[in-house]
């Protein structure tokens, strides 16, 4: 049953692909140990996933996940027993192939003679379990820097060559991940001996080298069986979902040139006000290779040992010569680092110095995000929207799929929520803030925001303001309509992880934000304070009233309401929604805002938010334009360089720049 073929099988086939159940991890660890290797793998230590020596699978995390945002890392408890249910932690494999400190040689003076002796420890044989795609890419970068000639770091080469690599495909991602942008993951393609993809109860096991093959044929043979097509399919789907989740947070096309053209950008000085130049990013980075040699002398001052340690271009002394430092200002040092990683590294080594693992973002003590800085300093020439681009699912103008009304609910006197089932299965993959083109033959199709995703369909909340919408509101259970979608982009809820979120909306504008609130409530701990500011014309026009009470009472969401006009029974606020902010105590330095409403209201809100320290890059609005095709082909909704339907409808104010609120655009 053993295959002799060494190359990695195609993803779609099951030939030569194996299944190892979770208990089989112990067999894997034991097999590697029996091969005379010290096994290094993930462990839980001091509130993080730390790569350290392991002797059994019990030393590894079981059912542990993580949350990572800029400057913040927390372990979480998963509701399953997965061993690799997190992404990369603070340590990188650099620690083992390029240790923090090594002794290089000793020297000694004896009278007028001097002598030197190199220290060449024979590296231990190691095995790494749990190496992610970005980390394999990091080995590749280090190989180019340290072991591709013309000069080589023999110590690195020896350690690197001795390591057996058990890779793990990423089936989860965090907000700091951007391997997709750097072209390094999440799929592990090569550079491993064995690769695991974690499934519910075990792993899909792939072989990547003769050494891996030997293990599979030898000590692991009893622990594995051929994988089933379902296992192969599920593994591929999970990794693909990870790719989709990460999206493309850092458009890299032309980045090298863009960045190097910005050496005088004023942003460098602004970053330096935030950057502490502590060097954490460089030491957390799996590819940074700078070191310094310190000589330890004996008390006679005649014998010495040279010791090489990781150093950082952020330390003031790093570029110091007798006359001073070449990079004396913090801004110089930040610029040096970023332009090297994403620019000049290419010129020197034919690759970027960054693999998109996100460690420099998570472990920056003050939460500086290289992606944000790169986008600000060297914005893409054709700016693509920051919110995740959704792959088009309904590409043509007329691709309507029939759906059936299974429930209706009268929300207010003129607003109805339709629950639809039988919609295109694509809707089940839809995301928060998307819309559908809705058609009742006889009326022009209209874009309607999806106000809820259900198991087999969606909900639409529609205000009967014109003939078509009134017709929709009049539908009864059992009636049908046509749907095309889901369309447009989404609210960037991942950016809100770990931050406070402010949602400001009025009237029917709450509908596209309702799925956001549902998602927040389902995973509340990942977010900071969440505040909803909502305005309606009268108390009777307040949408989702009962639900709103649950959001406040059980969802951990602060709900603030105001109405334009009220009767005597109303004890709440009266006035426009921005007035609700007047008494608010919060500050927005850490907040992100989602705003949906008429453009004038959004403008006023944006001004108010800016006054509280929410920057334009963190204020998202949803634009309303005339849409017909919903896929950027008809031209109706063009706004400057965007098609609102395709590139939006969600935009950050930074993206929109001075086009937002400008008359006549």
């Amino acid at each position: 049953m053993m295959t002799t073929e060494i190359t990695r099988p195609e993803r779609t086939t099951t030939a030569g692909r194996w299944y190892l159940d979770r208990a089989g991890l112990d067999d894997l660890v034991a097999a590697l140990a029996a091969d005379g290797r010290t096994v290094i793998g993930p462990t839980v230590a001091d509130g993080a996933i730390v790569y350290d020596e392991i002797r059994a699978s019990a030393d590894m995390p079981h059912g542990v996940g993580d949350v990572q945002v800029a400057g913040r890392y927390r372990l979480t408890k998963r509701d399953d027993a997965r061993v690799f249910g997190y992404v990369v932690g603070p340590t990188s494999w650099k620690r083992w192939v390029f240790p923090p400190t090594i002794e290089l040689n000793t020297g000694r003076r004896a009278g007028h003679r001097v002598e030197f002796a190199p220290i060449r420890p024979r590296p231990e044989r190691l095995a790494f379990i749990g190496v992610r795609a970005c980390e394999i890419a990091a080995f590749g970068v280090q190989d180019r820097v340290l072991d591709a000639g013309p000069f080589r770091d023999a110590d690195y080469a020896a350690r690197r060559a001795s390591a057996f690599i058990v890779a793990v495909q990423c089936t989860t991602a965090e907000t700091t991940c951007f391997c997709t942008s750097m072209g390094t993951g999440p799929e592990v393609e090569s550079g491993f001996d064995l690769a695991l993809t974690e499934l519910d109860e075990g792993f899909l096991l792939d072989v990547g080298s003769p050494a891996g093959q030997q293990l599979v044929e030898g000590p692991l043979a009893k622990a594995i069986r051929p994988a089933t097509p379902v296992e192969v399919y599920t593994a591929a789907a999970d990794v693909a979902a990870t790719r989709a989740r990460i999206g493309d947070p850092l458009p890299t096309a032309g980045l090298h040139d863009r960045l190097l053209a910005q050496l005088d950008n004023p942003r460098w000085a602004q970053i330096a006000e935030r950057c502490i130049t502590c060097g954490n990013c460089t030491l957390a980075c799996p590819t940074c290779f700078c070191t310094s040699v310190v000589q330890k002398t004996d008390m006679e001052g005649i014998g010495a040992t040279n010791e090489r340690s990781w150093d950082s271009c952020f330390s003031p002394g790093f570029a110091r010569v007798a006359g001073g430092s070449f990079r004396s200002r913090p801004r110089d040092r930040y610029r040096q680092w970023l332009t090297h990683k994403f620019g000049t590294w290419w010129d020197q080594f034919g690759t970027a110095g960054c693999v998109g693992c996100g460690r420099c973002i998570t472990w920056c003590p003050v939460g500086i995000d290289v992606r944000e800085e790169l986008m600000a300093i060297a914005p893409p020439i054709a700016l693509s929207p920051e919110p995740t681009r959704v792959e088009p699912v309904a590409a043509s103008f007329d691709d309507f799929v029939v759906a059936q009304v299974v429930a209706t609910r009268l929300e207010t006197a003129d607003t109805v929520t339709l629950t639809l089932s039988g919609a295109d299965p694509a809707f089940s993959k839809g995301s928060l803030g998307q819309f559908a083109m809705v058609s009742i033959p006889g009326f022009p199709p209209l874009p309607i925001s999806i106000s809820r995703f259900t198991v087999d369909g969606i909900e639409l909340t529609i205000r009967g303001a014109g003939p078509a919408t009134r017709a929709m509101c009049a539908l009864k259970v059992g009636d049908q309509l046509g749907l095309r979608g889901p369309l447009g982009n989404n609210w960037p809820i991942d950016r809100a992880v770990g931050r406070d979120l402010v949602i400001v909306t009025g009237g029917i504008g709450l509908a596209p934000l309702r799925p956001v609130i549902h998602a927040l409530a389902a995973d509340r701990r990942r977010f900071g304070d969440v505040r909803l500011y909502y305005g309606a014309r009268t108390p009777a026009d307040i949408l989702y009233r009962e639900e709103m009470e649950r959001w406040a009472s059980r969802g951990g969401i602060e709900v603030h309401l105001t109405v334009d006009r009220a009767g005597p029974e109303w004890e709440g606020r009266v006035g426009v929604v921005t007035q609700l902010f007047d008494q608010a105590q919060w500050e927005g330095a850490n907040a992100i805002a989602f705003v949906c409403g008429p453009e004038r209201m959004m403008q006023a809100t944006a001004n108010t938010l800016a006054g509280r320290g929410v920057t334009t890059s963190r204020i998202y609005v949803t634009l309303e334009r005339h849409m017909e095709c919903g896929i950027g082909l008809c031209g109706h909704c063009q706004m400057g360089r965007f098609f609102v339907c395709r590139d939006g409808p969600v935009f950050s104010l930074e993206q929109l720049g001075d086009t937002f609120g400008r008359e006549g655009i």
């Binding site: 230590a45 001091d46 509130g47 993080a48 730390v50 400057g71 913040r72 890392y73 927390r74 603070p90 340590t91 620690r95 923090p100 400190t101 330096a272 006000e273 935030r274 950057c275 502490i276 130049t277 502590c278 060097g279 954490n280 030491l283 957390a284 310190v294 000589q295 330890k296 002398t297 004996d298 008390m299 006679e300 001052g301 340690s309 990781w310 150093d311 950082s312 330390s315 003031p316 002394g317 913090p330 998570t362 472990w363 920056c364 003590p365 003050v366 939460g367 406070d500 900071g528 500050e587 330095a589 850490n590």
Partner: protein, 320 residues
């Protein structure tokens, strides 16, 4: 004065064939103190494995804590512990400087003014009156200051207390006649090299490691807590930037952020400015009120001595 005679000559330095390298006289070393806890000079005695070796390379001519032998200089190398905090210190430090070829300040007190420099934000008279019932006998200056504010300093060893490794490095550098290799980098660097998980990013603990000079071995993060800056600000420390982050990340008021810097090297810039910009120290604000001082005291007169002799019953471990 100095009736404390040299003991029988057998103890006198330099007479036992230990002179280093071809009979060159050993450098004359002194260790003296101003306002301090003695911990830094104790670090010299804590060089257990090197202490006796050290005495073969250096002639220790003044080290009152360890030896009755006294000299009043001159010194080839003089280690000074403690901050300048009394009128007498002001006078002494000028004299000591004249006696020392190389003057090395050791520890947070000598290099930054020490924890006692927190009084620099306060009303000194109120402090004095609060601690001592008859303050007029207490001679001290309104500010506790680093030695470098008064005389030139050749080398600094930071820390509360200093690091034995850095002390040895300085001593060997002095013996060899080279510059000591003392890294000017953040504690974070050593923390990361040691593979310690950042307590700030992973646990939300406030840590000053990023703005603090390395040298301690990142012991606080290693021990699961935040760095409290006892090695003082590193070169170009962006204390203001860190303070802004502490405030912006939402969990600490300006006052609390100020307290983070109000530790053992509070009076060193830029920690000093950070504290002042954030409103000074809490203790100083409080000591401004006379009512507090009056409330001081020793708890005297509450129970008689005899009352204390009553045997207590049912005492458990802690007397609870």
């Amino acid at each position: 004065m100095a009736a404390m005679a040299q003991k029988a000559d057998r103890g006198r330095p330099g007479e036992h064939g230990h002179a280093a390298r071809g009979g060159t006289p050993r450098p004359r070393v002194g260790v003296v103190k101003l306002a301090s806890c003695d911990g830094c000079q104790l670090t010299i005695l804590d060089l257990e494995d090197h202490l006796l070796e050290l005495s073969e390379h250096f002639e220790i001519v003044d080290f009152p804590e360890a030896s009755s032998a006294r000299s009043n200089g001159p010194y080839d190398v003089l280690f000074v512990e403690g901050s300048v905090s009394t009128p007498d210190h002001l006078r002494r430090i000028g004299e000591l400087r004249k006696q020392a070829r190389v003057l090395v300040t050791i520890g947070a007190c000598a290099t930054s003014g020490g924890i006692q420099a927190l009084r620099n934000w306060a009303d000194h008279d109120a402090y004095r009156a609060a601690v001592y019932p008859t303050p007029e006998y207490v001679e001290s200056l309104a500010r506790s200051t680093p030695i470098s504010e008064h005389v030139s300093v050749d080398f600094e060893l930071r820390g509360c207390p200093i690091s034995p490794e850095q002390l040895i490095e300085l001593l060997t550098a002095l013996v060899t006649g080279r510059r000591p290799q003392l890294r000017d980098e953040a504690v974070c660097m050593e923390c990361k090299r040691r593979g310690i998980v950042c307590v700030m990013s992973a646990q939300g603990i406030a840590c000053l490691g990023q703005v603090t000079q390395t040298g301690c071995g990142a012991i606080c993060p290693r021990m699961g807590r935040g760095c409290y800056g006892c090695f003082g600000p590193r070169e170009q420390a962006n204390a203001a930037g860190l303070a802004r982050w502490f405030q912006a990340s939402g969990e600490r008021s300006a006052e609390e952020v100020g307290q983070l810097f109000a530790g053992f090297t509070a009076y060193a810039e830029p920690f000093r400015s950070a504290i002042t910009d954030l409103g000074g120290t809490r203790g100083a604000r409080r000591s401004g009120g006379g009512g507090f001082i009056a409330a001081g005291g020793t708890g005297a007169g509450r129970a008689s001595y005899l009352a204390g002799t009553r045997r207590m019953e049912g005492i458990d471990d802690d007397g609870r």
